[in-house]
Symmetry: C2
Subunit: 327 residues, 2 copies
Amino acid sequence: MKKTFENLSALLTDDLNAVNALITQRMASKHAPRIPEVTAHLVEAGGKRLRPLLTLASAKMCGYGGPYHVHLAATVEFIHTATLLHDDVVDESNMRRGRKTANLLWDNKSSILVGDYLFSRSFQLMVETGSLRVLDILANASATIAEGEVLQLTAAQDTNTTEEIYFQVIRGKTAALFAAATEVGGVIASAPENVVSALNTYGDALGISFQIVDDLLDYGGADQTLGKNIGDDFRERKLTLPVIKAIEKANKAERAFWDRTIANGDQHDGDLEHAMELLQNHGALEETRDAAIFWGNRAKTSLDVLPQSQIRDLMRDLADFVVNRAV
Amino acid sequence: MKKTFENLSALLTDDLNAVNALITQRMASKHAPRIPEVTAHLVEAGGKRLRPLLTLASAKMCGYGGPYHVHLAATVEFIHTATLLHDDVVDESNMRRGRKTANLLWDNKSSILVGDYLFSRSFQLMVETGSLRVLDILANASATIAEGEVLQLTAAQDTNTTEEIYFQVIRGKTAALFAAATEVGGVIASAPENVVSALNTYGDALGISFQIVDDLLDYGGADQTLGKNIGDDFRERKLTLPVIKAIEKANKAERAFWDRTIANGDQHDGDLEHAMELLQNHGALEETRDAAIFWGNRAKTSLDVLPQSQIRDLMRDLADFVVNRAV
């Protein structure tokens, strides 16, 4: 992943610098210094800038020569940052990317209101592009993101959660913004309809694959490598794909185990190890990995409608590397 | 106030019904029933629908015949509702409009995420109007609202707060959305520039007047009528215009009193009564009432650029009635 990012970033250095400058400029506030303080903590925390990179790469791949892909990349990063600020309040998180969260360093109030401010700043940035179609795409993505968050809240800890609900949740949580990020890159470049559609499919599939891999790695990946943070989702009683697949095949005693630990939150020493055993016995981790590979391939093949280019190859590589984190 | 509302509402009955139908339709969510539950609690709680009424009235006064003033009125109500949901979390409020708040009935998480959902729905609604200028106005209003909220958070309990900061805060808290609500009514009706500008001035001044009166009534109004809820702002240590004016004129002992009660939050029996005495002694309540009258008059005279009509008269009356709550 690192190498693909470096290559993509190197190809888009000037654009990325322009995005960073625009982000710094727009997170300023003459009246409320708390805003840039909180935002800088998160924006400068070494995030991967994956989403803005997708917008820049999509626009460049479609031959865009104007200035607005930079606005859209900053828009996408602001939406992402605002979502993280609100997520950390909702999840009562203390750490993100190895640093204390804003809700811990300042307070929940600041995280809520600065998140709202970044949403409104992202909105201003996209209006500046003057493209109603771009606004339509991003408005719909915002609604899908917010609906997915509420769905996740109500579906959490419910052991009847189906794969269908899981996919709705991760489309909201991750794939909707990935898909909008790539699609608006094509739209701003006035790419033909089949290319715009392919970019949407690419972002959607890449986002789904990305989230499935994240959820798989939380259980150590398909080979159950035990590392730090293994089992966070289990302890937080999140219904992710590995557990959903294991519950699908659970016998009565196993179902009782999941109900006790996930639905009722009654967890003891040894429960995580037993959960890992059940995932292994039912092949849930391999099946989850296969799902990630399926969506990764879908992302790759969606780009077949575009002519070969260095940047297209790098975007295909990106899909491989997202999946390879998990194998 | 009640009579003016009734007359304005009666004149716009069909439009208001259309707004209510659109709100009900757009607060639905196929996947997350929590969304309409929380929204309905707030939207159906007998709010005055003042903001959507301003949009409908402005569009009608400018002779608009299309369908999009209804979308914009619903947009404005969704932005307002989203702001209330987040405000109640930030202020840790338990009651609003005589009912338990959503953060109490459900939880903070639901209020944060449903608020985000309503923001994104409002965004979709305004995109549907196809007017980039409307989007620009509402994006700027959203940023002013969010910046004002953060400013209020950091200015709260600071006895050095100036009138200048107070006006920035209430522009964000109240006047920015009032001004956008009336301005977009004119824009969607393709009104001439001087009329659009007048509508912005009207909404801004009406909003400022409205908020000043609210802050004055919290201390019983200019005649210090003691009723229920008197002194809420004092107990919550909010720096509003009456107190700012009293602090401007405070001697050393009085300044120490405000520092103890507001800055340090060390309040005892008799402190509210002493605060009321200081407001009275320095004429702070009369001065605050005069400020409300000034802004109310400004709202009224701004409409002079428009030809006389029944609806223009009612909008002028509205400014009088807003102020009359305080005299």
